[in-house]
Amino acid sequence: MTKQIDLKSIRLFYHPDGKPRLIIKDEKCYLSVKAVYAAPLSHPSEHISLIDDKGEEICMIPSLDDLDVDSGEVIQKELNKRYLGAVIYKIYSIRSEFGVSYWDVQTDRGSREFVVEENPNQFIWLSETRVLILDVDGNRFEIPDYTQLDANSTKMMVHLT
């Protein structure tokens, strides 16, 4: 069991070598720390676990607001680097052929084309309207609420719900 750490005594910063470091005041310094979401799909931005280089948890942070601004920024930056999912905000076309569908979309990271196997396991429905799509390579695309997309895009999604 990781012993309870006072979150106020934690500080994160970037070392000149480019790696993030964690210091627990007067106690320990971790030369390499990784930030992961404990439940990225159901609780994004909450319950962030800080892991050392052996893969063991240093502590879990309920929310970034529990830390000072600078440390929070470091963690957020590391999280953004780690989670490379894209959020779709417009669907240009979905073409279905030979057991796969070819998608052409606009995301928050730019436009992208990808292929999805026509298999219900490739669509993870996190709510009635929120879905995570896995393409054939395992890249992730999220639609937070398909009913909030433009009319055309929503129509194309209806077939898949």
Binding site: K81, L84, D135, N139
Partner: protein
């Protein structure tokens, strides 16, 4: 090594940046920028440095420039949905290039290349990567290294399918004859009715006939009609029977050919594809093909012939009226096309909701104990209702479109009928055509409209069947394991000396599991392989059995390269006792004699006695005839192990592979198994992945593997004295046993 070719203008500009002696050795493009945006980035590795470029923003100004000599290490770091290349120098570690999951394989190879170059080695990368795009049409392949459905040359596949018909040519010829006769015969009735009207009932042409003459003509025509109907029924029946016969025979032939191929394919192929994927080729794809051959193809041919025949008759009778009758046809074809396009996704959706529902029921019933233990019955009912309702809604949405469609089709058809009455009737009144002709037209019209809405589906249907066929042929075309390589050296008498010379191997070429393994094992020696899980023990065994081939280095048996030995001899002289003692669902006797089906009963019993299995076999009601159940589930773990050992004993190999099972058995059984194993290994060169202390103690030498390399070699006593890796492993094991004992 060119993974991707630089666009020419960029290549020119980059060449200008290079020093006089500098050459580009590796170029690859990525799809992600450092801050995760989808955009093109390039990495260029020369013999002096690494350069990265972001052309859409910076043109040919390098983003990062790193001299090779400063590089101490390179690796890929995995992120969620992609990764990046991390280079470490003396002072720091930097990420130089990001990429999405789609490019992980490529960049693993790139990193390997960077590692080789930074160490001053030659660039040595494996050129084969799974194909993700079709070479011809550049479309994405649904399966990596699979077939491209868009590029299937339907004609080529068709010819190949038909080639299976060659052995049944007599039946096929008969079927063609029956089809032609049947189609023609089906076209006759409206024609005969026309004559009934025009010659008997309402004679035309100013010919005056007596009543009895008319009656005679009527009777003969009706008899003709009867004859035609009888002939039509006969041909329908024989057509159906022939189709069933030929269709089944051909698919059975294809299934046999596929199974033969699957059995002969190397283990490497089997480990690449999941059993499920291979199974679906044998079952689902052959089923689809069968449906196509028995129902689909004959139906298409008959309909085409029929429609051609009808149009011929119609035009012959009145070309003007025919054109009017053809007016609704485009509506029917387009309507059919639209209908299927709309319905297919709806049906798929409905079907997947029902699958979810049944899946939930299945899961619920399998886990009913858990449901009740945690008192979650009400929650489960709520979940069920949700799935049930979703399935219901999907079903309603799909099913309610159909009636509307059919009504529309019928309506369009009846428009044709109305036109026929109007225009046709006008012609009859004006005595331009006979009443019989009009009646005949009516008869033919429905025969024409009927199949039209199906026509649009023919292409889809054929594509699906041909895709299935192509998948089957792809399997059949894969090169089988070289059982009979031309220059294979026979080795009927094997001594059993095994030598690993600088062996390197990885299931995935970019991640070697064994690195630079050197080991000489004398005939009859027992080697215990020890190490943490993932160290490479099972891999070494797989290589000895030649289930996989070494990437680099040499593996020799009796000083002959393993690859060159005749596979039959090799496998005949190597025996295995695996961790999971897989037994086939037949009798104990048949399982023991699996490798030597012609063994005598006495030999089987002898083997069982040596394996300490004879005693418990006799205790069973059916003795050696006892059926072991699927995967041997009718036997206990200890019994399975001993049967497995007996099987290996009967096989009488020169080299033995022993992958010890760790199943917990009682002390008495454990003693029996240990004794059986020690008898088994006597006189055979043995590679044992050891778990039992007794095995370790009995081994002539222990080989300790760590991360793919041999770190210690020696017997048990020597290694314990050394207090090295082996000693630590044993300590950990003992500590765990003690800890578990304390907890209890």
């Amino acid at each position: 090594m060119i993974f991707d070719s630089l666009p020419s203008h960029l290549a020119l500009e980059i060449v200008r940046l290079l020093a006089p002696e500098e050459k580009m050795l590796l170029t690859a493009n990525s799809d992600l920028t450092e801050d995760g945006k989808f955009d093109e980035q390039w990495i260029v590795v020369t013999n002096q440095r690494i350069l990265t470029f972001y052309p859409n923003r910076d043109g040919s100004n390098p983003l990062i420039e790193l001299p090779l000599e400063e590089i101490k290490g390179a690796k890929t770091e995995v992120l969620v949905g992609g990764g990046y290349i991390e280079i470490s120098t003396d002072r720091k570690s930097i990420s130089i290039l990001h990429f999405s999951n789609s490019l992980v394989d490529k960049f693993s190879e790139v990193v390997r290349g960077i590692q080789q170059l930074s160490k001053g080695e030659k660039l040595r990368l494996s050129p084969d990567r799974p194909k993700t795009h079709c070479d011809k049409c550049r479309k994405r392949l649904p399966e990596k290294d699979g077939i491209c459905p868009a590029c299937i040359k339907k004609s080529a596949v068709f010819i190949r399918i038909m080639s299976f018909l060659k052995s049944y040519w007599k039946s096929v010829a008969m079927m063609i004859a029956v089809t032609l006769v049947g189609t023609f015969v089906n076209l006759l009735p409206p024609f005969i009715t026309k004559h009934i009207m025009d010659d008997a009932i309402v004679p035309i042409g100013g010919v005056i006939l007596t009543t009895s003459q008319r009656l005679t003509i009527l009777v003969w025509l009706v008899v003709a009609l009867l004859g035609v109907r009888v002939l039509a029924s006969l041909s329908e029946v024989s057509h159906g029977r022939l189709a069933a016969l030929i269709g089944n025979q051909v698919t059975a032939d294809i299934r046999a050919a596929v199974f033969r191929c699957i059995e002969r394919l190397s283990l490497a192929f089997h480990s690449k594809r999941e059993t499920g994927a291979i199974l679906s080729r044998l079952t689902r794809d052959t089923e689809r093909l069968q449906d196509f051959l028995i129902e689909g193809l004959p139906y298409i041919i008959i309909e085409i012939l029929t429609m051609t025949g009808i149009l011929a008759f119609l035009f012959y009778m009145s070309w003007e009226l025919t054109l009017w009758v053809l007016i609704p046809t485009p509506i029917l074809v387009v309507g059919g096309h639209w209908f299927w396009r709309k319905m297919r996704p709806m049906w798929k959706r409905s079907w997947s909701k029902f699958e979810k529902l049944y899946g939930h029921i299945n899961e619920n019933l399998s886990g009913i104990r858990v449901v009740k233990a945690f008192a979650q019955e009400d929650g489960e009912i709520v979940k069920f209702n949700r799935h049930n309702r979703a399935a219901m809604n999907a079903g309603i949405q799909a099913d309610r479109i159909e009636p509307g469609f059919w009504a529309a089709i019928n309506f369009a058809g009846s428009i044709g009928m109305l036109l026929l009455w109007l225009i046709g009737g006008k012609h009859v009144i004006r005595e331009e055509i006979s009443l019989g002709t009009l009646i005949a037209f009516q008869g033919y019209m429905w025969m024409l409209y009927g199949p039209l809405e199906w026509l649009s589906q023919v292409n889809q249907w054929m594509t699906r069947a041909f895709t299935s066929a192509e998948r089957i042929f792809e399997l059949m075309d894969t090169v089988p394991e070289s059982y009979d390589l031309e220059n294979a050296i026979p080795l009927p008498e094997m001594e059993g000396k095994v030598e690993f010379k600088d062996v390197e191997f990885g299931y995935d070429k970019s991640k070697p599991v064994l690195k630079s393994v050197n080991l000489t094992v004398e005939p009859g020696e027992m080697i215990g392989l020890v190490g943490k899980s993932g160290a490479g023990k099972t891999t070494m065994i797989n290589l000895v059995c030649r289930f996989f081939e070494v990437d680099n280095g040499l593996l020799e048996i009796d000083s002959i390269d393993l690859k060159k030995i005749r596979l039959e001899d090799l496998r005949g002289k190597i025996g295995i006792v695996l961790q999971d003692s897989f037994l086939f669902n037949s009798s104990i006797m048949e399982n023991i004699a699996y490798a030597k089906p012609d063994a005598t009963f006495e030999e089987i019993v002898e083997a069982a006695k040596i394996a300490n299995a004879h005693h418990f076999i006799l205790a069973k009601t059916d003795g050696y005839n006892t059926i072991v159940g699927e995967r041997g589930n009718e036997l206990s773990g200890g019994e399975k192990q001993r049967i497995s050992i007996a099987r290996a004993i009967l096989h009488n190999p020169k080299i033995l592979i022993l992958d010890e099972a760790t199943s917990s058995v009682d002390i008495e059984t454990e003693k029996q198994i240990q004794e059986a194993i020690s008898r088994l290994v006597k006189g055979r060169t043995t590679f044992a992945i050891a778990h039992r202390l007794s095995t370790l103690r009995n081994a002539d030498r222990l080989v300790v593997l760590d991360e793919g390399k041999i770190v210690e070699v020696g017997n048990h006593a020597e290694l314990m004295e050394k207090k090295g890796v082996f000693y630590k492993l044993v300590q950990t094991y003992q500590d765990i046993s003690k800890a578990v004992a304390y907890a209890e």
